[in-house]
Symmetry: C2
Subunit: 150 residues, 2 copies
Amino acid sequence: MKTPIKKFRKYIDDNNLQVTRQRIDIAGVFLESRRHLSVDELYELLRNRGISAGRATVFRTLKLLNKSGVADEVDQGDKVTRYEVKTEDTHHDHLVCTVCDSYIEVYSSQIEEMQEKLCAEHGFKPSSHRLDIFGICLKCSKKKGNKKCI
Amino acid sequence: MKTPIKKFRKYIDDNNLQVTRQRIDIAGVFLESRRHLSVDELYELLRNRGISAGRATVFRTLKLLNKSGVADEVDQGDKVTRYEVKTEDTHHDHLVCTVCDSYIEVYSSQIEEMQEKLCAEHGFKPSSHRLDIFGICLKCSKKKGNKKCI
DNA sequence: TTTTCATTTGAATATGAATTTCAATTTCAT
DNA sequence: ATGAAATTGAAATTCATATTCAAATGAAAA
């Protein structure tokens, strides 16, 4: 099992790209963070840690991480593309809270199987899918106000 | 059971809006079409039929149709918001072909049930969801070239 | 019908995220 | 160290979405 950072370095090698300070810094902070991050969010996170990197570089590095198979794109339906660290284990779906924007990652092999069956019935060859359930998380449904759930 | 156009008119009435030529024309063409339409696509469709309406009006009318409960937003993951006529029957998921951009609407009550269960396990109150499976449709997988499937 | 007042329209403009440009800088191999 | 090639990042561009505002239209009153 290869670590994300090794995967990233391998991709860089294989494609005759260079290992630069920015790429290492950006990948490092991204991989540590266990959140869904947009370009701007990651850019700010880097700034807060005193790491200098331009937005364009953050943007390009996230694309690179995605192509390396280290990062997955996630679309929370708000027109902003975010990325998450691709887990070694299976694909997962999301329960997205519309009050606090937090999310829970879930996985159901039964649902996956159903999907396979559904595709087969239509002669459709699936390559990826996305299941997002929007609603209200436990914390928020217990609260009165509209404060963020952290 | 109310027809979509009546629903739309009721919404207009209830909100002290006006029934205008443009709104009727735009809603008419949208409801006839059985496709997913973006603002620009619907705008072009209208032009082709010799119906004059500005992009801004098409944009606003689609929002209005959405609020009326006549149109649903669909996100094909390509950063363009499209709308589809909301069906009377249950919600459906999509098998989206990444070669020709066509899609098949599918529905599986079993998958829906699984989703409910999954949410319940996490104390999550679902309000909506989105399941899109991306892959290659039957027609495209039979073809050599990359021509559109229509 | 004519006046009055609010709503609607649509061309133009603004917004904002995604993406690209390009000159300056950095990296790597020699 | 040198030079070719890749990278960086500020600024510009693109493109869909959203808003502005003056002119047009609609509805209600006179």
